[in-house]
């Protein structure tokens, strides 16, 4: 649904995006991650026809964004990181204006506006001036605007920035609902834990190039990270440490706070052996918990924090 081939964009001497190859399947939620100035927003702007690529090409639903701009715009809904609103317009007028901008017939506009207001839970704010809305409400309005022409593809640049925790959870639910509706969503965010929960695939970009692209499960082998488990035992952990360190599958055992962090050797992931060894060794096991790889950790390992 979304594809780029050797996409490059320069601003003078600054290379914002460098030969980026991207492929997002229809119906996927793709998380676009990177430090500030990595080229995320530039890539998104190229995809929504706001910027021309310096070289390479980008396609939405098979249409070249450089050549079929108008058709692409009908298929894409774009929500920028900072949504400028028109002063002195009410919420429904704002949405009706964009409905008109997308060429939706006058007779159908009211029903469509009511539909997206309901979907984004903004019915109570229907007649409120847009510039009087809170940041969270404005983000919702932005999402309502994006949906007004029922696009196949949503490109959302930091949709959760500046939102309070409740608004973030609601935004996440809304995105899941949109996925159920069959939308293809490309989303950038600095709140990586949120992307972790909703994205099918992620792409980590730095200095205009992908340093990783794939599912979250694919990150661990890619990083050469070994599986880890947390082990909590009753009493002195020294005996447990001795028993586990003697196992050939275990590379390392470290005491961290009140638990033990056990690292397997490469390719070893069986944690059943730990429980058996400890129980047979007479150690009282409280819990055994595989350590999840955090997206934040992967992000830190994959990126160097270098910005243009």
């Amino acid at each position: 649904m979304i594809e780029t081939k050797k996409l490059t964009r320069n601003f003078g001497n600054l290379v914002a995006v460098s030969e980026l190859d991207l492929h997002i399947e229809a119906g996927d939620i793709f998380g676009f991650i990177g430090p500030n100035g990595a080229g995320k927003t530039t890539t998104m702007r190229i995809l929504v026809t706001l910027l021309e690529p310096t070289s390479g090409s980008a396609f939405i639903d098979g249409l070249d964004v450089s050549k079929k701009g108008k058709e692409v715009r009908r298929r894409v809904g774009y929500m920028p990181d900072f949504m400028g609103v028109y002063d002195d317009l009410k919420v429904f007028e704002y949405l009706e204006f964009f409905a008109a901008a997308f060429g939706i017939e006058y007779k159908k506009r009211k029903a469509i506006v009511d539909g997206v207001l309901e979907l984004t839970d903004l019915v109570s704010k229907r007649s409120a001036p847009v510039d009087s809305l809170s940041r969270g409400m404005q983000q919702r309005l932005g999402l309502a605007r994006v949906l007004i022409h029922d696009p196949k593809v949503l490109v959302l640049d930091e949709p959760a920035s500046g939102l309070d925790p409740r608004a973030r959870i609601e935004m996440r639910e809304l995105l899941r609902e949109l996925k159920r509706m069959g939308k293809t969503i490309m989303i950038s965010s600095h709140i990586l834990s949120e992307l972790e929960e909703i994205c099918d695939r992620i792409g980590i970009i730095e200095r205009g190039q992908f340093v990783f692209s794939g599912s979250i499960e694919e990150i661990r082998p890619r990083l050469g990270l070994h599986s880890k488990v947390r082990v909590k035992v009753l009493g002195d952990p020294g005996r447990a440490t001795e028993l586990l360190a003697a196992l050939p599958q275990i590379e390392r055992v470290e005491a961290v706070n009140d638990y033990l962090s056990v690292t397997f050797r490469e390719g070893e992931t069986t944690d059943g052996i730990i429980a058996r060894t400890l129980v047979h060794g007479g150690v009282d096991l409280v819990y055994l918990q595989p350590e999840q790889l955090k997206l934040d950790d992967a992000f830190l390992q994959l990126t160097k924090g270098i910005v243009h």
Partner: protein
Amino acid sequence: MQSTGTISLLQFLSPLRLAGPVFDKELRVASRRPRSYGLRAGYLALLTIVILSAWCRTLALQNPATAFGVSRLAYVAWRTTATVSAFQFVAAQLLMAAFLSSSLGSEIRSGALGVLLTTPTTSWHIMMGKLFSGLLQVVQLLMVSLPVLAVVRMFGGVSWGSVCASFCITITAAIFAGTIGLLLSTYWHHPYDAISAGAIVYLFLWVVVPAVATTALAATRLLSQPMTQAVLDLTNPFRAMYASGVWAWPMPSGGQRHFFSWLVHCLFMGGAAAIVLALATRRLRRSVTANAFWRYHDEPSRSDTERSAGAGWVGPCSRRWWRRGNVAIGVTALAVCSLILMSDTAGLRGIQVYAYYFAWGLWTVALLRVAVSVAGAIAGEKESGAWPVLLTTPLDDDQILRHKAGAGLRNNAILLISAQAVEICFLATASPSKVLSVGQGVLSAVASIFLVVAAGLYFGVRLRSTTTAVVATLGTYLCVNYVVCGHYNPLFGWMFSQLLYNSRHTSTHLALLGFGMGSVALVLDATLGVFFVRQAVRTMRVNIF
């Protein structure tokens, strides 16, 4: 949800479709903005003052009991019509440029236009929508004066043809000004910057180019040719207003010495506006997206804050373009000065009209830039959030204000000096009492600068937005120098009328009246300047955010 089917022929030809949804939105928004009502109220107030002033100037002629009074009623009607049409001509262009540059610039700054560009709405639709909505508002204002013109027309001396011609020339000039405003707003996103640049473009197009052409043609003796005069009239809206007859007395009756058709002029201006609009449309998308960071970051930057705390030399006055542009303007002004002196030596008097308009226009732009620099240096920092940071530094309040004023003057020094040089050059060649005129001119200029700087500091401190502060600063200056003690004071008009049409008084009395009025303006400028400075220091920490 999607429903974008085929459209019927009627829908295709609908004016709303041609102008796009932007037209509808602009009209809806304009009716809700308090500043729209403020502008209309201001326009009506100024129109009333202008009509009253014109009326008072001819009071001595309005005694129908005498044969002279009856015979001069046509002149009274013409005078009123000419004054109203001149006011409308200038106001319509200024309002169009202000409406459109403000509308486009604010949407580019807020990022709203970037969002709109991701829809199938084209740049052409956006520009046309804005142009038509601005035009509709301006035409509404122009219509207000029609009843006045209809009444004074009954005295005779004014033909409907010339009124219609002046109306059409005004409309096309306003459209052209609007397109210039749109084009310049794609470069400068603040309305006051776009309007200042527009004034420079206007001075160049309608004053410098014709002045140079006139001088060059005079050397080849082509100037007196009817065709040359026709081309000069048809391609310049200011000359076209004279040629249409509405600004000339007695009105041309038996045909002119050379060809002039207001219709041809309007077509020329329409074509020029279309070209400028096409350029603006072409630039729009690039203007919104050219910047790698796109959106305006209103947060205070580290360097801004550091510079604020260090020296206070900060604000919009540091815009590099204006500093570079000032040099270009200075060179142009020097060339115009040379032109005036050369033509005066050669006895070419026609150039004086251009010199007058150039001197006046350049001086107004210079004061506008000073107002932007000084008022914007404070209000702009409030908008960006840097002002509270500056106030937490050990700098004294009066020290900060002094530096802001100094920066405003320093950054516009070339512009101010250039404008004064042209003014002095013009006065030295045009005025019979050279020393007196030049002396008073320089003193008035100093007092005017002082008033603008002081008012800029005060309104910058009191108000939150740069645009409002600049408008208030310039409004104060114009009100004091043009309405209270200037050309548009009805009392001045009445005294002028009594002196002009009373045989007992001489031209010396008229000169004394002008000198007296200028002196009152000078004293008032200085007094108000002191008042504003004191108030600025006193209220500096009242409206910090």
